[in-house]
């Protein structure tokens, strides 16, 4: 791992990162990855699927009316850093 790779990943993860910190992360993540590399020695059968655990399955719930319309709107919008007229406010996405 080098600084540039860390910066590229931080970019994908939408994290601003300083030059100094990307250097520090590169060293640290390298040592974590070399620890994780033990996994290569673990013997798993070629055809073993990723999720074969019987407890992991999709659970569906019926659509219904869980609560009346607008019941939680104010409380939820109040937690947004920026709002206007009961809507969350963000910066313009498209330029003219």
């Amino acid at each position: 791992m080098n600084k540039e790779e860390i910066k590229k990943i931080a970019d994908l993860a939408r994290l601003e990162i300083s030059d100094e910190e990307s250097g520090k992360f590169a060293t640290e993540i390298d040592s974590i990855l070399s620890y994780i590399d033990q996994l290569k020695e673990a013997k798993v059968s070629e055809d073993s699927s990723r999720i074969e655990n019987a407890n992991v399955r999709n659970v569906m719930i019926e659509d219904g009316e869980p609560h009346s319309k607008g019941e939680n709107t104010k409380a939820l919008i109040d937690e947004a850093p920026d709002s206007q007229d009961h809507l969350i406010k963000v910066k313009k996405i498209l330029n003219n």
């Binding site: 860390i6 990943i9 931080a10 994908l12 993860a13 939408r14 994290l15 601003e16 990162i17 910190e21 992360f25 640290e28 993540i29 040592s31 974590i32 990855l33 620890y35 994780i36 590399d37 033990q38 996994l39 290569k40 673990a42 798993v44 073993s48 990723r50 999720i51 074969e52 655990n53 407890n55 992991v56 659970v59 719930i61 939680n72 409380a75 939820l76 937690e79 947004a80 850093p81 920026d82 969350i88 963000v90 910066k91 313009k92 996405i93």
Partner: protein, 476 residues
């Protein structure tokens, strides 16, 4: 009246026999919290305590009290209580107020305990020392120069220092058991899915579970029986064995006779005195009728590397929600994407960002087979290994942590050495099985007696076996 070391049982008897009022009990703890401020355990005591006290006292006076009515409980800062602050010990949620109750909170609320305040933790539960909190490290009540463990360090320290009768924590890789062991209290990580995660800030969703930190096993059982159960708001919750229709399955009904010890797994990296306490505990158990046998679990050694792939992968997905748009704080950028970069880069702590980067990397194109998919395959092997072991033995025993509480700052510069503190706890999360840490002695360091913990692990949904042996262990 001496109110130190109160258990739920004892406190409840005092309240119900009218030897003590709820107000007196709560004020005892509030004064203790004030006295112990330098330990930095509480982030806040809640502003509505007087109302809670009135409600609980009414219940007691009307004869409607249960065991936890009027009992002060500390809540880990990643569990939501409606209209109260919950920050996950992160700057990004510093002023966030929860808009609903977590399921565990509504279940507890029916009994009117006293939610006395929220306690410190590693930011978004990432860490094993509480040093990663956005609001300063919590100090171990037994030795202020040492960490209380983590991530539920505030929860464990609050119970150990008599600042609450019990606490709620969350456990993703050891975050209830390891701090319980470091602080000399009892911590239960329930079966994955036995307790609803609704209203718990998600860290690694396939591993997270809420559980109690208490003075003893009996209290852990009381709290677990209140908070467990299927919840329509968490699709991964499962029915507990005793609430299923029909007969209780044989596996959970059998009394514990045989306890297995995976000795090969404990050969390296364990403090000799911790191991000595562990052997003494085994001897005690064997002298009291339990058969202790060696078992082989050769894939256990992969638990920690598997954990450090799956956990950051899930972290990187779950942390995507903190973008400065929906809730929490925002740092202004030049445009919308600039807001994201500045907010996340500026307000998430370095451990959280390190894990997001690691998780994004192991999930990225070209690496996901090598890391993420392989880790899941090995996770299945480990789960299988537990299932096989439980065909031979009723419980598995290991130390909770390879060392006693370490010094503040000792491991902050070396993430891998910090991660190794979880070596004995992560496997129970990977396999989804329940585990408990019970105090089993102390080791002496610089004239301080630092607690160690005995960890017992049971098959899925067999918490009753942990309680059975735990309660016996405490009296022998």
């Amino acid at each position: 009246m001496d109110l130190s070391n109160l258990t739920i049982k004892k406190a409840s008897e005092l309240l119900r026999s009218k030897k003590l009022t709820v107000k007196e009990l709560v004020h005892f703890y509030l004064e203790r919290i004030e006295e112990k401020k330098d330990l930095n355990i509480f982030l806040e005591t809640y502003p509505d305590l007087e109302e809670q006290i009135v409600l609980a006292q009414e219940k007691i006076d009307n004869g409607n009290a249960t065991e936890i009515t009027g009992i002060p409980i500390a809540v880990k800062d990643n569990i939501l209580i409606k209209s109260k602050k919950a920050s996950g010990a992160s700057k990004i949620l510093e002023d966030y107020k929860a808009t609903y109750d977590a399921t565990v909170i509504s279940k507890l609320r029916e009994h009117s305990p006293i939610f006395i305040g929220r306690v410190n933790m590693d930011e978004f539960a990432m860490g094993g020392s509480t040093e990663n909190s956005g609001f300063g490290v919590t100090k171990n009540p037994i030795d202020k120069t040492r960490v209380p463990g983590g991530s539920s360090g505030g929860s464990a320290a609050s119970v150990a220092a008599d600042l609450a009768v019990f606490a709620l924590g969350s456990d993703t890789g050891g975050s209830i058991r390891q701090p319980a062991s470091f602080c000399g209290v009892t911590g239960l990580k329930p079966t994955y899915g036995s307790v609803s995660r609704h209203g718990l800030m998600a860290m690694a969703s396939s591993l997270d579970v809420i559980g109690p930190i208490t003075k003893n096993t009996e209290d852990a059982e009381i709290v677990f029986n209140i908070i467990k159960g299927k919840d329509i708001k968490d699709s991964t919750t499962i029915e507990s064995e005793d609430s299923k229709e029909g007969s209780v399955p044989e596996i959970s009904n059998k009394t514990v006779k045989k306890i297995g010890v995976p000795r090969d797994f404990m050969k390296e990296g364990v403090d000799p005195e911790v191991l000595e306490n562990f052997e003494k505990s085994l001897k005690k158990l064997s002298e009291n009728g339990y058969e202790i046998v060696d078992i082989e679990m050769p894939d256990l050694k992969y638990s920690l590397p598997v954990y450090y792939v799956i956990m950051p992968a899930e972290v990187s997905s779950n942390m995507a929600r903190y973008d400065g748009v929906k809730y929490g704080k925002k740092i202004e950028g030049d445009d919308l994407i600039g807001d994201y970069f500045k907010t996340r880069g500026g307000l998430l702590g370095s451990e959280v960002r390190r894990r997001i980067i690691l998780g994004t990397y192991v999930l990225s194109a070209g690496y996901s087979d090598q890391y993420y998919n392989k880790a899941w395959q090995v996770r299945n092997l480990i789960t299988q290994e537990f299932e096989n072991a439980f065909k031979e033995v009723d419980l598995i025993a290991m130390p909770t942590s390879p060392t006693p509480a370490f010094k503040i700052g000792e491991k902050t510069e070396d993430p891998v050495s910090m991660y190794l503190a979880d070596i004995f706890t992560v496997s129970a999360n990977l396999a989804g099985v329940p585990a408990i840490s019970i105090p089993d002695g102390t080791v002496s360091r610089e004239e301080k007696d630092l607690p160690t913990g005995l960890q017992l692990i049971a098959p899925q949904l067999c918490e009753n076996k942990l309680f059975e042996v735990g309660k016996n262990f405490e009296i022998i």
